[in-house]
């Protein structure tokens, strides 16, 4: 089902992930978060931006375990744990944050 972002219609797959990563803009995350009834804070954006940088460098969405470790390294140990990340993204930091960031579903995620 396509989503409406700033007057544009963007294609998504059956699980709600953006079909074309290049169509991403911050508004995508805003629209998706609104559907989930979630208010995006700076802390959410830290993770979303981190995921986009990770994808840019490695061409994959990291597995949640790898994400947790990498966030801890980049943003500090207090943020590199699943309690913190699940607090921000209750549907799972891997799935939900990657979806907001316009990335494909993490490899190995069911």
């Amino acid at each position: 089902m396509p989503i409406e972002v700033n007057g544009k219609s963007l294609e998504t797959d059956e699980e709600g992930y953006l079909a074309n990563i290049n169509e991403w803009e911050p508004g995508v995350a805003e629209v998706m978060a609104k559907e989930d009834e979630l208010d995006l804070t700076d802390e959410h954006w830290d993770i979303i931006n981190f995921l986009r940088e990770y994808y840019e460098e490695y061409q994959i969405a990291p597995a949640v375990r790898v994400l947790t470790k990498a966030v801890g390294k980049k943003l500090g140990k207090d943020k590199g744990n699943s309690k913190y990340l699940y607090g921000l993204f209750p549907y799972g930091p891997g799935k939900q944050a990657c979806r907001y960031a316009g990335l494909p579903k993490p490899t190995g995620c069911v």
């Binding site: 990291p62 375990r65 470790k69 990498a70 801890g72 190995g108």
Partner: protein
């Protein structure tokens, strides 16, 4: 999981043209969740999978070479490259990417887990592995 086995992923084919290299990489990424002792071996045209500076922009295929550099984060400890296969293609270790490994808890670090090995070591390493996936 207490039963840790030595897994070896043997890569023998060129990165593009067939799906084998990408499939192998995906299995390694997925398998990392199971906490096994994982190593990769590159022989024959498989050595081309680790060439640095690859560019697929004109081939209409996703360039997945950057993904190899994240394997250290996925728990892969060794990436072996067959020396004879490299030499037969006019390549040396300088032509290959570097992959860092780090243990976030102990802060133990290895700058580069890509290692060129000779035929005898290849045979020994394969014989020592408990599970070998060949791609």
């Amino acid at each position: 999981m207490s039963d840790i086995k030595k897994f070896m992923y043997l890569n023998r084919r060129a990165p593009y043209g067939t799906i084998y290299a990408w499939e192998s990489l995906e299995v390694v990424l997925i398998g990392a969740a199971f906490d096994q002792e994982v190593s990769l071996m590159f022989t024959d045209d498989g050595v081309y999978q680790l060439i640095k500076g690859s560019d697929t922009s004109e081939s209409d295929m996703k360039n997945f070479m950057p993904t190899y550099r994240t394997l250290g984060d996925y728990g892969c400890r060794h990436m072996y490259v067959d020396k004879a296969s490299l030499e037969a293609r006019g390549l040396t270790q300088d032509d290959l990417i570097e992959v860092a490994w780090e243990d976030f808890e102990t802060e133990e670090e290895v700058d580069n887990i890509v290692e060129v090995v000779d035929a005898e070591q290849v045979a020994t390493l394969l014989a020592e592995s408990e599970v070998v996936f060949s791609f």
